[in-house]
Symmetry: C2
Subunit: 187 residues, 2 copies
Amino acid sequence: MAVDVVAVCGSLRRGSYNRMLLGSAIERAPDGLHVEELPFRGWPVYDGDLEAEAYPEAVGRAKERLARADGLLLVTPEYNYGVPGPLKNAFDWLSRPPRETPLIGKPVGTIGASTGWGGTERAQLVWLYSFRFLHMPSFNRREVHVSMAAEAFDESGRLTNELFLKDLDAYLAQFRDWLEGLKRARR
Amino acid sequence: MAVDVVAVCGSLRRGSYNRMLLGSAIERAPDGLHVEELPFRGWPVYDGDLEAEAYPEAVGRAKERLARADGLLLVTPEYNYGVPGPLKNAFDWLSRPPRETPLIGKPVGTIGASTGWGGTERAQLVWLYSFRFLHMPSFNRREVHVSMAAEAFDESGRLTNELFLKDLDAYLAQFRDWLEGLKRARR
């Protein structure tokens, strides 16, 4: 049974290490796991008035895509020891009406990369708060924290650090198995 | 399929509202859910030297009991906006060698009571950090935060506030269903 995952990469920057990490995850996804980016470029900063007056169509389409997915993968930078505003803004849009949010109960995992030592460890923990609010089962079996990211990727943007590759491959395989188990249980 | 849960109540105080909450949870556990207290009274404050020289037998017995359980329920006070030291100390002992810790991968839930408005909301979020480290699936579907606890229990220590009773009953029923699903998946 194949599982379908949508991934949201928290950085819009062209040279983003998190974007490179997502690219490597897509490329290395094992059999039975499909990983596809859910882009949020162009989504406005959340504003309740805007929501009431001109609901962004792109958000509606993303909610429909997310609703069909078996799981969500957040590829998260860490800003100021916390979750990054751009990714939280996208997540917050996805959590809003009109339709019931597809985030509720959606199985979720996080991975991330940073140029420092922590590899987004703190941001990944803070995400757990929001997952709890939305009753999202959180994948807690493996972790991927790509630290010192400037040395972890090659010039073409592929993850090359052996340790992190091992982490990523193990993460993807176990994330797939976990999602497959949840999908089976829902049937 | 019945599920067996051990519960650790974070407060040692005789008149503890969290102890009352645990009592009510035990009493109101629905069919198919057995809730039993795992006491930690008398466990020493963790000390690596003590651990090496005189490992507390009570901790070893608690680890064996926990290993047999289908799930863990933490009944947690909140101290200084965080997890309470006594309960964290018990949790830390349970996480230590000699044997592999039975906490790893153990499904877990939290409930709590406080005399203020928050009902241990903050402490319950901070617990998520440690659950992640130990690969513990966290029950995220329902929450129990008994606030203004001095008015929520009767003189005999039973939870009587109607709203919190509804929360607790729904929590226990869904916690049971969730644990049963996980147990079935392991077979």
